[in-house]
Symmetry: C2
Subunit: 404 residues, 2 copies
Amino acid sequence: MALIVQKFGGTSVSDAERIRAVADHVARTRRQGNDVVAVVSAMGNSTDDLLRLAGEVSSTAPPREIDMLLTAGERISMSLLCMALADVGIQAASFTGSQAGIITDTAHTRAKILDVRPDRLRAAIDAGIVPVVAGFQGVSTEKDITTLGRGGSDVTAVALAAALGADVCEIYTDVTGVFSADPRVVPSARRLSRISFEEMLEMAATGGRVLMLRSVEFARNHHVPLHVRSSFTWEPGTWVVEEEDSMEHAIVSAVTHDTSEAKVTVLGVPDQPGIAAKLFRALADRSVNVDMIVQNTSEHGTTDISFTVPRVDLATAVEVAESLRDDMKFTEVTSDASIARVSVIGAGMKSHPGVTATVFETLANEGINIEMISTSSIRISCVVDESQVEDAMRALHEAFELGG
Amino acid sequence: MALIVQKFGGTSVSDAERIRAVADHVARTRRQGNDVVAVVSAMGNSTDDLLRLAGEVSSTAPPREIDMLLTAGERISMSLLCMALADVGIQAASFTGSQAGIITDTAHTRAKILDVRPDRLRAAIDAGIVPVVAGFQGVSTEKDITTLGRGGSDVTAVALAAALGADVCEIYTDVTGVFSADPRVVPSARRLSRISFEEMLEMAATGGRVLMLRSVEFARNHHVPLHVRSSFTWEPGTWVVEEEDSMEHAIVSAVTHDTSEAKVTVLGVPDQPGIAAKLFRALADRSVNVDMIVQNTSEHGTTDISFTVPRVDLATAVEVAESLRDDMKFTEVTSDASIARVSVIGAGMKSHPGVTATVFETLANEGINIEMISTSSIRISCVVDESQVEDAMRALHEAFELGG
């Protein structure tokens, strides 16, 4: 008998029929002898609908009130799921973030969980009741309602699984698991049955859309095994688990891509200590998130610095760089919004030094120019022209024999 | 500088435009130097929409979950009102029933308020912030979310006004006040500028739809003056206040009507002590709410008992009566679903004994037969055939010169 936290996203509870299907699945899990805690997101697009309504009412919506508004969404889905569970003979009770003991800081619309006090949930479980918990929401140390920001429902599920000592946190979504590449781009991509937290973190950070970085980090830090699977087919999906030394690692597990960034290059920067720091401090002060940074080896006493930023921040980044021209004494700022990043990820890479060479040869054979490179011990990322990213993905996927 | 509780019903916050209009009015009240606490219902028909959704999901919706579901409605309207207030430069903060300190019993979907602990509201008021409170909801002594049943938002407003010692509780609705009769039936009906709690109680009990009996009782018991007015015209409406001895009372203030009841008559009941009690105990056991009861003077050792019940309970009431035939040894049960009650109400009636005679004469002149009569010290109610109730209302309204 296991304790299973099951998290159902918006597409999994988008209408009455889907909610009844979820109830059937929770009932099945329960009747197999497991204890279950369900965590739900708001139904389908209801969060967007509420935000649209807010836009009609007000142009200066205070964050505290945005949180109060949005948390209505999970209230609706969780109470409906409890009703559907009652219909199939399962005793259930809904709990708001506050009732579930999700204590957060006071940063409205992007709160962080400070503590989880799941006393009421544990009492419910002990009484044979399935707690159905509102994802995405908590109560602040000031007793105000907060939301956890993007991917917040996953974070709720993982945090509860950690606090309750659950055996697994199942993340139900509209895909059947984590794939070796985006199947829309690489038709031969196959579902991974098992990957390590480290690989999943690298995937989340480089364009894999199934799980947010934040919930994977939380799961890794608290040793909560994740199982990503489909609420449409209910088949087993991808397990995300701690790396075991005894495991025979695939050299490369997956290829990811990301087309949300742009590249900025500052040319002719005097090669003196502290010059680059001025630029990145100024960018940070404007809340521009810099991802990759590459600095050439100095020639003739100057260097070129390239970095990537989210495309939405490109104009700001260029403006910040230009404003430092007199101070930094560089020659020129150029930018390119049509870049893409392709990454190969694999825990086995650590012990196989030939991977970088294979990546470069493969891209060269396709006539694809590499504009920037960044690596970690289990990842190699290349910035290429956006028009070539899909070719790059297919070639790398084939080169590392990732196909099904 | 006064403290004013303003309650806005569903039609007053039915869409973005109406919510902005409410925000303007709260801002106006605030800028006149008053402290304001706003209490809101769910937007328009959103409660019905949520119940429909519940019906699609489940056939056995547990009351606890119905409450969790429905309370999403006020969460949406109150946060939107706070946003609209921010737009017009008024600092506001929303509070759930729980945050506002509305403590109830555990009777889900029809909870009663046990205590009000408005510490957070008072702190907000003292800080110059307008609290916007979710009507209709509270938190039970078991820390579960509850709703207060029909008319619950008015009860919330009155309870907060009492707990905060407010100078007035303004009930904003889609009519301009309390009328001397339903203007759709009696075109000459006029708005009453001032009536006593006792009159308002009698009106609410006999078909006046503007205020529920429950909130008027609460206001009377806690000495909270009510001001019923329109959120469409914002003009002054009807004050409901404590009766003052110095007041010159109108003999009759209003004529009300009610077509929601049916009549049951049990014929030939042996005139023995305890026989009638059996009948009304049996009805109470089946939760049938008996309103008027009339028992004829006994002749030939038997009597006839007539009583009225809600039409929805008529079949049950007849079934209950029939089941007692052997026990009570009556001769027959008859029923009539097409009755109506017309009532004249006025605090001045106490000192004017001729009112009953005028009522009877007026109805007789119209050829209207009175089937049952019941009176209080400030009310005379007559059951007539439903087809004649509008004629009866117009005739009585004219006879007592209530027209504008």
